[in-house]
């Protein structure tokens, strides 16, 4: 544990000082950190899943608090929690399926729980499975203590197994951790290869003699355009420079190095040029549950221009960017204000911005937000590593990747688990 604590503190520092750039790097490092937390965590014989979930939640809470604007951290924490629950469930179903009915009904836990000792194993497994799906109309009328059911099931399964075979028990506890770590490895693999998987779909969307507009620089967009170029599609790219960081300049350079015809424009010229564009392809910082997009500043402008001229607005986002939260005030709560020095030269403007002189409050304020919120109605298509989707389809992906219990990552004080 002290080993992981050092790692955790290290990572927390990096997050707080904004040393890690980009959601992919953040996501990968978060996943690796959680993997070491899980492998170091000692689990008791019963209710291993609960212990793992607690450990991950404890670390996750700190990570999210360190940089709340970097949503990828929270996403990965929740993905890992969902993985733990899923692996536990599949192990439990396998275990219960192996037992006969009498063993289950003999179990005191079962009797206490719903006083109905004649429930078949299939019914218990079905009830436990429903805990993983978000609450739905189907499960509305079913038994209420659903979130507590999973650990209880696993513990009752563990107990009755213990009655028969004790060797199985220890192997089962090792199996859960092993399975979880394997699944987390797959997750890391997915994060690392998300660019390739998205780029594979480039050929379906970019056809001949097209004009594509993008803003700023996104590695996903770069790979996407390269993949289309590999497949011999001919197209031109308009790059909006993306003030104040001017990352569009870097993107333009890379595109030219690859042999693509590129035009560089200012952000203010987007409305003027949009009518000559066939498609807008951009990257995103995060995608919210309602289909809204948190993107580098200036994106809302491009999206509005695209809507006005009926140009498809395509957003490329890896699945680690998908966030299960609904934005209720995204311009404020999910935004970061960066240094004014990116806009103004301190030397020239030192008089106007002087906090020390006079009344202590200067007349000139500089606001430099890092992100923009694009509402879902402006987005035509999301391309993720699983394929192309409508903004209104995002909730489905969220239901696949996340559990409803994990929306608020907080270690529960009660001993419910």
């Amino acid at each position: 544990m002290p080993d992981t604590q050092v790692l955790v503190n290290d990572f927390l520092n990096k997050l707080k000082k904004r040393k890690i750039e980009g959601s992919q790097a953040t996501a990968r490092q978060t996943a690796e950190l959680l993997r070491s937390v899980i492998s170091q965590q000692r689990v008791p014989y019963t209710n291993q899943a609960g212990a793992l979930i607690d450990a991950v939640k404890a670390v996750g809470e700190q990570l999210i608090a360190a940089n709340p604007v970097e949503l990828a951290v929270g996403n990965i924490v929740r993905r890992v929690l969902h993985i733990i629950r899923e692996e536990d469930l599949s192990l439990t179903t396998a275990a219960i399926g192996g037992l006969n009915l009498s063993a289950v009904s003999d179990d005191e836990n079962d009797d206490d729980r719903d006083g109905d000792s004649t429930l078949s194993a299939a019914a218990v497994a079905a009830a436990a499975r429903s805990t993983l799906r978000p609450p739905s109309l189907q499960t509305l009328l079913e038994d209420t203590p659903v979130s507590a059911a999973v650990p209880q099931t696993s513990s009752s399964g563990g107990d009755s197994e213990g009655k028969s075979k004790s060797a199985d028990k220890s192997s089962r506890s090792r199996k859960l951790k092993h399975d979880v770590i394997e699944a987390v490895n797959e997750l890391i693999q997915d994060i690392v290869t998300c660019h390739e998987q998205i780029a594979e779909q480039a050929v379906e969307h970019i056809h001949q003699n097209e004009v594509i507009l993008t803003l700023g620089s996104s590695r996903t967009v770069l790979e996407f355009l390269f993949a289309a170029k590999e497949k011999k599609r001919s197209f031109r790219v308009f790059v909006a420079e993306g003030a104040p960081r001017y990352q569009g300049h870097l993107l333009a350079k890379e595109l030219v190095a690859r042999g693509l015809q590129t035009t560089l424009i200012t952000d203010s010229a987007v409305f003027a040029m949009i009518s000559r564009v066939n498609m807008v392809i951009v990257g995103a910082h995060a995608v919210m549950a309602n289909g809204g997009v948190i993107a580098p500043v200036g994106m809302n402008l491009v999206a509005l221009a695209a809507q006005k001229h009926a140009v498809p607005f395509v957003v490329l986002a890896g699945s680690h960017k998908l966030c299960p939260l609904y934005p209720h005030n995204p311009e404020v709560l999910l935004n970061e204000l960066r240094s004014p020095s990116e806009l103004l030269d301190f030397g020239e403007f030192s008089d106007c911005m002087d906090f020390g002189s006079g009344s202590g409050s200067p007349l000139l304020h500089v606001v430099n937000p890092a992100f923009d919120y694009v509402p879902p109605k402006l987005v035509s298509l999301f391309i993720t590593d699983t394929g192309g989707h409508n903004p209104s389809y995002m909730y489905r992906l969220i239901a696949d990747y996340y559990s409803a219990d994990d929306l608020v990552v907080q270690r529960r004080a009660t001993a419910g688990n």
Binding site: T118, S136, Q138, L140, N329
Partner: protein
């Protein structure tokens, strides 16, 4: 003008002939509160079938006098007697009668949702039934649920609640219960628990919507929805600073009742007449409405005026939030306003209207999903497109 073709002439003739055959109508009680005991709209008595659902809602939330209430209750029981005898097929008269009776008893409680009343009534059917197998029980329940639905065709949460319970029964019987009696007692227990679920649902919805109410915001509310009331109550308890603009909600004036309740909570309230919504929309930050039913497209059916408000809000880019419990999801897909069964409610204009003049008495309208931003339900925060997904999972 009233319809797109001259078909309104044909419709009127049809209405006149249809009415006598319809035996489940309630004759609307004459208004007694006003000093001039004139019948303000003679059309009312002629071809009006008053929606029982809206009558009950008016009884709960509108500003009514006790006379009117007593007369409406009398009219309701009179209709039940005639209705029960009509619906019955020989032999089971006692049971069909008691379902509707039972339902009415539950429904009279102001705090209880429609669907909960329906499910409790069905639970009573199970209790009184003498079936020995699940199939028999299911058949009885189906009959009872059909009679409930046909007694009041206008109430969507009633239909949805009955359907939900029937689905649950069908699915539960598929699980192996070795003993019929234990299965039966479990069904009854779940049905009674449903009342708690509905209570908890309102709390969950209130908690989910807290984040969306920020300090200093102005909320526009239409009609009296108990769920929205819960949302605002919780926000007030959490010491959020907000103010509420509340439409009058003619003709049952449920907005006045809401304004009363909010004033008790020390929330600043401003009353508007229904026509003043567009006038005040630019100072509004969000619109909060409840729903009588949520349909498959993700749109809602709610008190008359909701569609109007949603249109105005949409054109001024204000979010429209709907607070609805999940058992209000119904398998309807209205294509336009007239596509639903009519739910009529008499309007008292205070002065006599000549008999030649028609009155639009529909009590509800349909708001299409593109004007709604988010739905707060006990299943979580949903966008309108999720609703059909949920319904498909349940019914298919």
């Amino acid at each position: 003008m009233w319809h797109r073709s001259a078909s309104f002439i044909l419709d009127k003739n049809q209405n006149d002939t249809v009415y006598p055959a319809d035996s489940v109508t309630l004759t609307p009680p004459p208004p007694s509160s006003i000093s001039t005991p004139q019948n303000p709209n003679p059309n009312l008595n002629r071809n009006m079938s008053m929606s029982a659902y809206y009558q009950t809602r008016a009884a709960h939330h509108g500003v009514v006098t006790s006379d009117w209430l007593a007369q409406s209750q009398e009219a309701a029981t009179r209709a039940v007697v005639t209705g029960g005898q009509e619906i019955v097929d020989g032999g089971k008269s006692g049971r069909a009668f008691s379902v509707i009776d039972e339902f009415n008893n539950w429904r009279k409680q102001p705090d209880l949702a429609e669907a909960v009343a329906a499910i409790r009534a069905l639970a009573a059917v199970i209790r009184n039934s003498e079936a020995k197998t699940m199939m028999e029980l299911e058949i009885e329940l189906k009959k009872a649920s059909d009679s409930l639905k046909s007694w009041d065709t206008t109430s969507i949460s009633l239909t949805a609640g009955c359907d939900l319970f029937m689905r649950y029964v069908t699915r539960t019987s598929a699980l192996e219960y070795e003993d019929f009696n234990s299965a039966r007692s479990r069904l009854i227990e779940r049905a009674e628990k449903f009342g708690e679920i509905s209570y908890k649902a309102r709390k969950i919805i209130a908690m989910l919507s807290q984040d969306f109410i920020f300090d200093g915001c102005t909320i526009l509310v239409h009609g009296f929805s108990r769920v929205v009331m819960e949302v605002l109550k919780m926000a007030a308890q959490n010491k959020k600073l907000f103010r509420v603009l509340c439409t009058e909600g003619r003709p049952d004036r449920s907005g006045l009742r809401l304004a009363n309740e909010l004033a008790k909570l020390d929330v600043p309230v401003k009353l508007l007449i229904d026509s003043a919504v567009a006038y005040t929309m630019d100072e509004v930050d969000m619109v909060f409405v409840g729903a009588d039913g949520v349909v498959e497209s993700g749109g809602i059916i709610n008190m008359m005026g909701t569609y109007q408000i949603a249109l105005v809000a949409h054109s001024m880019n204000k979010p429209v939030y709907v607070a609805a419990e999940s058992y209000k999801f119904a398998r309807l897909y209205p294509l336009d306003q007239k596509d639903m069964g009519p739910a009529l409610r008499p309007i008292d204009f205070g002065v006599p209207i000549p008999s030649k003049v028609e009155v639009e008495t529909s009590a509800r309208d349909y708001t299409p999903p593109q004007y709604l931003t988010l739905l707060f339900t006990d299943l979580g925060v949903l966008t309108p497109s999720v609703v059909s997904d949920e319904l498909i999972q349940l019914y298919l």
